[in-house]
């Protein structure tokens, strides 16, 4: 079930004053009525100031901790559940070609049917980027959306990706020639 902190309310008391938890998000939360049972569910307000990065359809994530595809970007395309934190994702890297692995969707250029791509949230880190796609968007739509919203560009702008890049560069430094560590140090100074 959803965590307690999500159950912020938007109720008014009889005098029209807002009642509820002190840490309600400014816009209140949306309550959804499910079916005829009157079962209320709190949905997570995207304007919440505390939690900006949310698991949602279209959220771009980075995989860490995850053998073959560690460090690659992916998009959450569907959510299975949140207790066991499984999700379906489609992988995107620079060239938008996908690599086969148990956890990844394999998509050879000939568009073969990909194996299921199920990933636990604990194997991912959410990024601040979101793609505007619908649930279970296909490869073509994803590709078009990625290009249109320039995810690659936006990702490159983030300091996160810059840090990854600099880390990679630093580890590629050797003791010799132009990319030696001492040269870099001098340049910094």
């Amino acid at each position: 079930m959803l965590q307690p902190f999500l159950q912020s309310t938007d109720r008014d008391d009889q005098h029209g004053r807002k009642i509820g938890r002190q840490d309600d998000p400014p816009g209140g939360s949306r309550r959804l009525r499910l079916g005829k049972q009157g079962y209320f569910m709190e949905t997570f307000d995207s304007r919440n100031l505390t939690f900006q990065r949310v698991v949602e359809i279209g959220r771009v994530v980075v995989m860490i901790n995850y053998g073959p595809d560690a460090g690659k970007l992916a998009v959450i395309v569907d959510i299975i559940d949140h207790n066991r934190h499984h999700l379906l994702y489609k992988e995107l890297n620079g060239s938008n070609r996908l690599w086969p692995s148990y956890y990844g969707l394999a998509l050879m250029p000939l568009l073969r049917v990909p194996p299921p791509a199920l990933l636990a949230f604990r194997r991912l880190t959410l990024t601040p980027l979101v793609l505007k796609v619908l649930r279970n968007a296909g490869q073509k739509i994803l590709k078009a959306a990625i290009e249109k919203q320039d995810i690659a560009g936006n990702w490159a702008k983030t300091s996160w990706s810059k840090k990854i890049g600099s880390r990679a560069k630093r580890s590629a430094n050797s003791d010799f020639a132009s990319n030696s560590r001492s040269t870099v140090l001098y340049k910094k100074l």
Partner: protein, 150 residues
């Protein structure tokens, strides 16, 4: 007979177990003609499965209906067995899966599944545990306390 088993050996054994309940025949007097693995038709599509179970508890035998959201029937039944073991301490030998059916979003009965079927489902991951990318990078001690905020 369609049943769920982790391998052929157990499948054959369960076959005889169930057949004995249906007809007076034992393994000694019978012969299994064929055994085939049935694969999921759409293993990439997330489906809601309703599973009807009959299980023995410590004090009696009960029927149950549980729902799972999985990619395949096999995964759903596996989840069911694990779930029964954890919630009811029911071992697999005490569980009989009566029926597994795919359930459409409208027909889902259980609130813990319904909450995942909301149209614009989104939720944060409030406690982020930072794990090493691989075993060689695991650290026994850390210089500073990790932040669990995303």
């Amino acid at each position: 007979m369609r049943l769920f088993a982790p391998n052929e050996v157990i499948a054959k054994s369960r076959f005889w177990y169930f057949l004995r309940k249906l007809k007076k025949v034992k393994k000694v007097n019978g012969e299994i003609v064929g055994i085939n693995e049935i694969f999921e038709k759409k293993p990439i599509q997330i489906k809601n499965f309703g599973i009807w179970i009959r299980y023995d508890s410590r004090s009696g035998t009960h029927n149950m209906y549980k729902e799972y959201r999985e990619l395949s029937r096999i995964a759903a039944v596996e989840a069911c067995y694990s779930d029964m073991a954890s919630r009811h301490r029911a071992r697999s030998r005490s569980i009989q899966v009566i029926r597994v059916a795919e359930v459409s979003n409208a027909e889902v009965r259980r609130p813990y599944i319904k909450q995942l079927l909301l149209p614009n489902l989104k939720f944060p991951l409030p406690h982020r545990v930072i794990r090493a990318a691989d075993k060689s990078h695991r650290a026994l001690f850390m210089g500073s306390r990790p932040s669990t905020f995303y």
